[in-house]
Amino acid sequence: MTAETSTLVPSFVVFHVGTRRVALSRDWVSELIASPLLFSFPHTTPLITGVVLRRGRIVPVLDLGPGVLGAPSPATRFFLVVERHLSNSSERCAIPVQGECELLAGIMLPSMRQEEFVTGYLELNEEQIDVLDLEKAIAAGVRSHEEPIHGTEALS
């Protein structure tokens, strides 16, 4: 992770969800972890692909792909650990990311995009990088799973 720190401007973590380069406010992000063992078990919650064990904690893995790309993210070795703010508490989750992440300081500009989970954009080397609202990106992914097809139904 490269750092361009400034105490005057906010920081963002820039990463890839599949082929799309996006950013999250640094305030949401705890750490980047590589190659944790992913444990999966049956459940019915959309977007969760399993859990990882991190320093004695169980961290659910949430794929932003369905909301941000419209498809699940490809398999990866890297996970960004973020802090979700749930109704009464907060919880750490791991987001699968592709390639390297960058930490950069910059001013977020208002976005003209229709996607409600995009709160603004950053300009980096003439590229526009969408800044995500984490909970809205998760909600968009959940909506895309509204009619799940379970394994048994798919095979019957």
Partner: protein
Amino acid sequence: MTQPASSDRMPRDNRRREQVAVFSIAQYSFAISSASIQEIRSTDSLGGTVVELDRPVLRKVRHIVERDARSYYVVSGYEHFHLPPSRPTTVLILRNAPVAVLVDRIEEMAEMRVLLALPQSFRGEERIWYRGLTVLERKVLPVVDPLGFLTTGERQQLEEQNPGLLLTAAVSRHER
């Protein structure tokens, strides 16, 4: 019984421990408290009489088995967890519920040292299925809630659609 700990941190080693049976269905492994199991039998040696439900209102329950003057709803493990069809060879007969669960096989008996709460991000049926998660030999496994195989509502639904069947099965068995 092991008390659920917060999923934030694993407590140290001075907790009460719990014996569990680790079983598998399809490619997944699960732990269940040994205290909640009355018997573990092979499907070939289960014995008793199998009665087909007149109205199988739940996809996962199609039969009742009568044995030793008791009747049990037979719950398909793979249907319960919404998994692809598997090859059950083992039956877990539960102690505190009239339920016999079909699973693929028993992997091992083990000692569970920690029970972690299911993270709040999990919001589906798994909150009924599992008591929490545990770590055995560096693997994270879900710890099944035995009462989650057939909830009170599901049992009521079965009894309403197949009135007296469980009772009739038990009585007819007793009279023989």
